[in-house]
Symmetry: C2
Subunit: 168 residues, 2 copies
Amino acid sequence: MGRPWILDYDSANCAIGAAVELIGERPTFLVLRETFNGVRRFADMQRRTGMPRQVLSDRLARLVDEGLLGKVPYQDSGQRRRYEYRLTAKGRDLWHVVTAMRQWGDRWAAPGGPPLEIRHTSCGHIVTAVPTCSHCGEPLDARSVTAIPGPGASDGDFDRTQLVIRPA
Amino acid sequence: MGRPWILDYDSANCAIGAAVELIGERPTFLVLRETFNGVRRFADMQRRTGMPRQVLSDRLARLVDEGLLGKVPYQDSGQRRRYEYRLTAKGRDLWHVVTAMRQWGDRWAAPGGPPLEIRHTSCGHIVTAVPTCSHCGEPLDARSVTAIPGPGASDGDFDRTQLVIRPA
C-alpha cells in the first residue's frame, strides 16, 4: 500500500499542534512533570523546579484554564484556605505523550541508561509502553501504517498528488 | 503500591528534555511532520510549510546534525547534484511521540473529529496506537504504573521523601 497520500493538513487544523503548544514550552512541561510525580502544592513545585514565583503562577493558571489541572481547596495547619493542583482526565491523558518522549530519550539520548523506569503495578515488572494496534494487537511503528484523511479533515488539508513515488 | 517515590530528577538528566527540545520548536516540528509524510526535498518542504528559506535550511541542518535526518544526494533532471532528506532510525522512532501527541489532540482538541487517521497496513483497519505493557500486554496509563530510579539516575535525581501520602 505504501504511501497513497502526501498529507498536507494545515497547521491550524493539526491535532498535534495542540499538544506541542502545551508541552513544547519548558516551564509548562516542568509543571506537568511535577504533577505526574504527585507534586500538587505551589510551594513544593516552586522548590523543586526552581521557577520564579510569577512564572510558576502563570503556568499553573494557564494549565487550569486549559482544563489540564484542577485547582482544589484544602485547609493547611494554620486554617488558611490554600489550593492544590491535580491532573484532570485530560491532563492525565498526556501521560502517553510524556511516556513516548521519555522512551525515545532513553533509547537515543541516555548513554548512562534510563534515569527513570516504570513498574507496572498489576504485573510487578519493570516495563516499557509498546504502542500496539487497537484492532489486531500487533506492535505499530512508522512503517506499518498509512495516514489517511479523517472525519475532521478540511478541504485543502490533504493534497492527494503523489509527490513521492520513488522507492525508499 | 501507590506512589512510593516522589521523583526529583534534574532536568539536565531528563530523558524527556531531549525530545521536548526537538519537537517543542514549531519549525523543527513542521519539518519532521513533512518528513513523516514522505516529503524529502527542500523545495517541496518550503512550498508546503511556507517557511522562509533560511529558517528551513537551518532546521534541516540541525536535524542532520542531531542524527534525525540523513542528507542523501540525487541527480535531478538537469543533472545537477541535489540532496534529499530522509528520516534515520532515530528520526523514525519519533513516530511514537508524534502519534501520542496526535491521539491526545484528537481526543481533547478536535471537536470535528480527527483530521487524520491511520490504517494499519497488515490488518487493513483504521486503528489507534494503544500503549501496552511490554511484559504482560495489558494497556498502560498514568495510574497503572509507578516510577522508580533507573540505572542512569544520578545522585540527587530522586528525593525519596514521601511528600504526597494523602489519598487522591
